[in-house]
Amino acid sequence: MGLKRFAIVALALLAGCATVPPPEPGSAASKVLATGPIEDVAIGPMRMARENGFLTVSAQLSNTDTQNRTLYYRYLWMGPEGFPVAEADTWKSLTLYPGQTSFVPAIAPVPQAVDFRLEINTP
């Protein structure tokens, strides 16, 4: 019986540890949509501005590995209601050298875009 109780408490504790709190709205993490675990790539600050009526974005990505790392990414463009206002961008390939930090810029395809999501895939 004691063993059973111990197992239940241990499972509850483990479940508690595994629960990742959701990212804060508006934070860089809240803009990232990962299509699987992001391995050896650190996502840094993101800059968002409006230039000549179009939303422009730049995200900082760093390779934390000691080897070249190829990742795939694309931006999705959202309207004021939080839904896409244009077709998703084409997936693009980016190679980062060991320890390299790169800035991935993008311009929204339509002036209606007010927000974005960065979709990342690390194969």
Partner: protein, 205 residues
């Protein structure tokens, strides 16, 4: 002599028959809206295509996306000016349908609402033929006929080129593409906007 099925109460008989019909129907039903064999599938048209290192769909999409957004966001196209698009010169050794690049650029600029397009060299003949048909055939009601001499002249022309450098060794094939595009003011002849997109693709044998 009564058969066992007929001895059952009516509601049980009906239930059995309904169940049998459902089972037979269920087996015969195609559970997904697909016809044909499983060897063919639809893929993501926006996926990174790495089948060979020749010019491919991802290159076309990346070029059109990059050029369109750079031009739209540059601020040159204020007041939705009329633009005439010329064919992109293919200076590579490959066959590339460059008209598809300009068509994608036109479509995306149109979607962004930043430019209008005059008939380009391929559309012009159809445009002229149709104006002549309306004005000279006598087939159309006069009040609905499009008048000649009202076509809008382009303020800018958009022209570009694509070139490539290919290097081969025993172990590698390296292809470097450079796509350049410029927007020229027709009246002044000045290039008001220019951009280029570089793409490198390497195959290790």
């Amino acid at each position: 002599m009564n058969r066992p099925f007929e001895t059952l109460p009516m509601f049980l008989r009906v239930s059995f028959l309904t169940l049998a019909a459902l089972l037979i129907g269920g087996c015969a039903e195609n559970r997904s809206p697909v016809l044909g064999s499983g060897n063919i599938s639809y893929g993501d048209p926006k996926a990174v295509e790495l089948v060979t290192n020749e010019f491919g769909s991802t290159d076309l999409q990346m070029i059109a996306e990059s050029m369109t957004r750079s031009l739209a966001q540059s601020g040159v196209l204020k007041g939705r000016p009329v633009v005439q698009v010329y064919d992109v010169m293919n200076k590579t050794s490959e066959y590339i349908d460059t008209r598809e690049i300009t068509t994608s650029i036109k479509t995306q600029l149109m979607r962004s609402g930043t430019a209008r397009f005059a008939s380009d060299n391929t559309d012009m003949q159809s445009q002229v033929d149709h104006l002549k048909l309306q004005n000279q055939s006598g087939l159309y009601k006069k009040s609905t006929v499009a008048k000649t001499g009202n076509m809008i002249a382009a303020r800018y022309r958009l022209e570009g080129s694509i070139s490539s450098i290919i290097k081969r060794s025993n172990d590698y094939k390296d292809v470097f593409y450079k796509f350049s595009l410029q927007l020229v003011d027709v009246e002044s002849g000045l290039a008001e906007w220019m951009d280029e997109k570089e793409i490198r693709k390497t195959t290790e044998r």
